[in-house]
Amino acid sequence: MNNTLFRKHIISIPELNRYDLELIVDTARKLKIDPNPTLLKNKVVASCFFEPSTRTRLSFETAVQRLGGTIVGFDNAGNTSLAKKGETLADSVQVIASYVDAFIMRHPQEGAARLASEFSNNAPVINGGDGSNQHPTQTLLDLFSIYETQGTLDNLNIAFVGDLKYGRTVHSLTQALAKFNNTKLFFISPDILAMPDYLLQELRGAGIEYSLHSDIEDVVDDLDVLYMTRVQKERFDESEYAHMKAAFILTADMLKNARDNLKVLHPLPRIDEITVDVDKTKHAYYFQQAENGVYAREALLALVLNEQF
């Protein structure tokens, strides 16, 4: 496949087309089967995390090292010139990007990665999460996990459960799935945490069929993928939460009539929205999904930094 991602910034899912997404998924699949420890040989990659992260940072850094590259960077902004001396992000990026071949960053403010891409002097910027906005590499590992378990990204029934209002992983994955054919989406959430209108409008514009629900059990038997997220207790008063939480917590019992191919995904960390008895069912796939974060990020780094391989 022609590498359309060479030296590209990876900031936001809507900028990637179906071909780009398939290229990343296909490359991740190949690297999972056949590791290649030389793809980032002699490359230095910055890993700049301006806010804490566990899975994203460690899987990015693992990906760089498994491909033979080296890492520079920091895992919190507390000791940087931004925090200590009041330097702008634009200046910091300009300097750090001049040292490295690619720049991975997470930042608590929305738009930080886009801004960085304007000051990185052509070093590709990879967004590891910008505030509540985008987290494109989570979406890429989600797509890879869906492809890996279903053998296709077309003709799928996919439900999202939980906090759909604030959940950036849900928003980005929805935007990605809208690029595939005959996708049917089910949104299951309390009213006050429903999908934002502007995203539903985008789905209508893309001709995607979707429906809104208030209980997992309404749709679980028709699904290929059940994507869980957490309904945060803090958003409700205690009695309200106690009353509604059962509708958004997945138990093994609820899966007894599910399709054989149904897989349950979750961006993790899981708190109590998936009970541990689900872990032992054939439907649980969230830990493999987290492992796929390394392969999806390897694929992205390999494509961005090598025209051909």
Binding site: S12, T88, L89, A90, H107, P108, Q109, E110, G111, A112, R114, L115, E118, D130, G131, S132, N133, Q134, Y198, Q201
Partner: protein
């Protein structure tokens, strides 16, 4: 009516006239769209009587011809404004205002956590028009806002 206009603000020989600006927006438009950054003569009329608006503001800039893109930037701010090009005291072209595809450095992003508030970049929005509502999508934080809640940059 035309005669009355000519008496209110002196006619220009060549240049652009922005008319039918809602009263009190004239100075803001001058500032926001950098119309004052010129050595040419700029005349501004404030609170002029207007049959359509009650009161209106008006800006005349000599020897500067606003193009359609520049005129369209005004459409978001003063959708009923008109922009005419003047040659030899005659209206040579009436520019029809259409919504621009994007607008930069005019509105502040309403998202207080948007990176544009602390960094050396101009705000930048794509203009999205759907079913008679106009919304602006920030190029940086990607949030979408109704035109009605936007306020200009300081």
């Amino acid at each position: 009516m035309i005669k009355e206009h000519q008496l209110q603000v002196e006619a220009i020989k060549n240049g652009s006239v922005i008319d039918h600006i809602p009263a009190n927006l004239g100075i803001k438009i001058l500032k926001l769209f950098n119309l004052k950054d010129t050595n040419q003569r700029v005349t501004i009329g404030l609170n002029l009587p207007s049959s359509a608006l009650g009161h209106k503001d008006l800006i005349k800039i000599e020897n500067v011809f606003l193009n359609e893109d520049q005129a369209n930037q005004l459409a978001l701010y003063a959708p009923h404004a008109t922009v005419n090009q003047i040659e030899n005291y005659e209206v040579s072209k009436k520019l029809k205002l259409a919504l621009p595809h994007e607008i930069a450095a005019v509105f502040a992003c309403p998202n207080s956590n948007c990176i544009t508030h602390n960094e050396p970049v101009d705000s930048h929005f794509a203009v999205v028009e759907t079913q008679e509502t106009v919304r602006l999508k920030c190029k940086y934080c990607e949030k979408v806002f109704s035109r009605k809640i936007m306020t200009e940059c300081n």
